[in-house]
Symmetry: C2
Subunit: 143 residues, 2 copies
DNA sequence: TTCTTATTTAGAATAATTCTAATCTATTGA
DNA sequence: TCAATAGATTAGAATTATTCTAAATAAGAA
């Protein structure tokens, strides 16, 4: 019998390979969190929400490690930060070219494919700087 | 002789009229802060920075009032909030159609006129919602 | 194994913001 | 003009999200 703790052991070992490729030591916590984050379709998570979710499925991890991990993943290009309002920040597993709808009422983000939305005509970046990235938030209201 | 505390009494009384028009009682603190905010050209201020500035020019006002006032002004359409990263939020005296460059190194915002920059092609807003506003942050990096 | 170094952890510290309850002040109307 | 009242301001406590710290643990190399 294979040494395996859970049914999703596969997604964790895939995660481990992915971490190694990104230059991150695949520790138990990082592999487990990567397993959660990259298992299904794209997600937008807050640190607190991920901590709650991890705890719920039996991953023992501290909130400090959640923050460390989210930032390391972001550094490594596995995640992207989306800031929608003061002190409400999400980590997005979709790191491709895309933008977001934001519903303040439900505090949820919805992806807008980069192929759909276009930004054009910004002025030249100030001397000594270059454009790193362009973030668009299409803010919604309930009607 | 006219009853006037400072040379900028005029900008304060203009501010008072503006507050009244916005449905806000023109108290001493609000008039003084409006005087600071709307005197010159457009600005991007943080709560802390405005408090420091107010204190420096002799306006006696608590930080709580700064926050209250900035939010009330925003409600009233005199200011607009710009969120650039987790827990760094600015209030913008330019409430017209425009967007921003953001330099993370210097933590400064630069206006991009709405005539210059264009966003197009976003999908239909989800059922029951409408687009309230579109915010674009052109993030810069030092080169 | 054992060693070394990176990682994780609990809990303290920090920072920005909001809340609270008491005090004060602008406006209203007598 | 003045008192009443509703709204505004205040200091300081509370809250929230996040980061820091120093000790304990675990991964990878020898």
């Amino acid at each position: 019998m294979v040494n395996r703790k859970r049914a999703d052991g596969d997604s964790e070992s895939r995660a481990a390979a992915r971490l190694r490729a990104a230059g991150l030591r695949p520790t138990r916590q990082r592999a487990a969190l990567a397993g959660l984050l990259f298992k299904g379709s794209d997600r937008h998570v807050s640190a607190e929400a991920l901590h709650t979710e991890a705890t719920k499925v039996g991953i023992k991890v501290s909130l400090a490690t959640i923050y460390n991990t989210l930032h390391q993943f972001t550094e490594a290009g596995l995640l992207q930060q989306v800031v929608v309002d003061a002190s409400r920040c999400y980590f997005d597993t979709n790191v491709g070219d895309h933008q977001h709808f934001y519903c303040p009422d439900e505090e949820t983000l919805i992806d807008i494919p980069g192929n759909d939305i276009k930004v054009s005509g910004w002025p030249q970046a100030p001397k000594g700087t270059a454009v790193e990235r362009i973030d668009v938030i299409v803010r919604l209201k309930r009607i």
